[in-house]
Amino acid sequence: MKLGQKIILVITGIVLVVGIGATCYVFYKPHRNIAKEKPAFKMEASGLFGEFNMNEDLGNEKFGDQVIQVTGKVAEITIDDNGISIILNNSMEAINCTIDAQYEERARKIEFGDSVTIKGRCDGFDMIMGVVLSKCILIE
């Protein structure tokens, strides 16, 4: 084989590897695993609501996109085609937790008034929903 051919072969190889790598990175990069992440904050549901209610911007800055573990009483359970939501604290001052699909089975056993601990990613705050936690898992 001529030197020129070798170089072309090597370059083609590199391009292929980089290309496949980049494709894998884009399409197969795993989602963040909330279950394995250590919570940045552990707190009572009422306390978390209070901080957001006092100052939404500060709340977003402090808790936004963070994994938070909250403990509180179950005030509402919604089960529909969009999944299971468990509302902690109370309906007007809610911590609104969307349960991760893998934990739906266990979430179905939870009843109104139970005291539970839930870990999830904080998406932010809204007047209607309260503090929203996503991809929530149940802690014993």
């Binding site: 990069k29 963040r32 936004g64 969307t98 998406d123 929203v132």
Partner: protein, 182 residues
Amino acid sequence: MKLKYFLLTIFMGLMWGSYAQKYITKSGRVDIVSNSPLFTVEGVNKKVASILNTETGELVISMLIRSFEFEEALMEEQFNGNYMESKTYPKSIFKGRISNIKEIDFAKDGTYKAQVEGKITIHGVTKDIREQGLIIVSEKMILAESEFYIPLSDFDIKIEKAFKNSIDDKVLLKVNFKFNKQ
């Protein structure tokens, strides 16, 4: 003790009376679809809040940007980071009304056309918007549906040069709310 329950019943009755025309959902759904020759980007938010006043037609929609889910983790990251900048602009809001509310009979089952107009805030930019939708009334619930396009450039959402050809400026929004009747 009995008096307490009696008063409570009356109070609840009054509450129900005054709130009867207001319907709330906390688990509405909004899909976003961006089609292009190279690939399709699809995201879904299943945690959209909305209040519909069937008396006045007032409609409020609120959603958190971080609640959008994408099949690919990287897309989700890009969406939150470069495009929507969810750290700075964590939510999107619509405030407006169904202008032809009088033409919709919420007591009678059926599918009605709805004209929706108001102000929408995305990525910190507020614009007037006017779209059409459907209101489907049934015994147990009120469904609200709409599909419309939003130009990213209107809301100051920038696409990097490298992706200019693979991401369309117009993004399709599919709105799907289910308001339960009490």
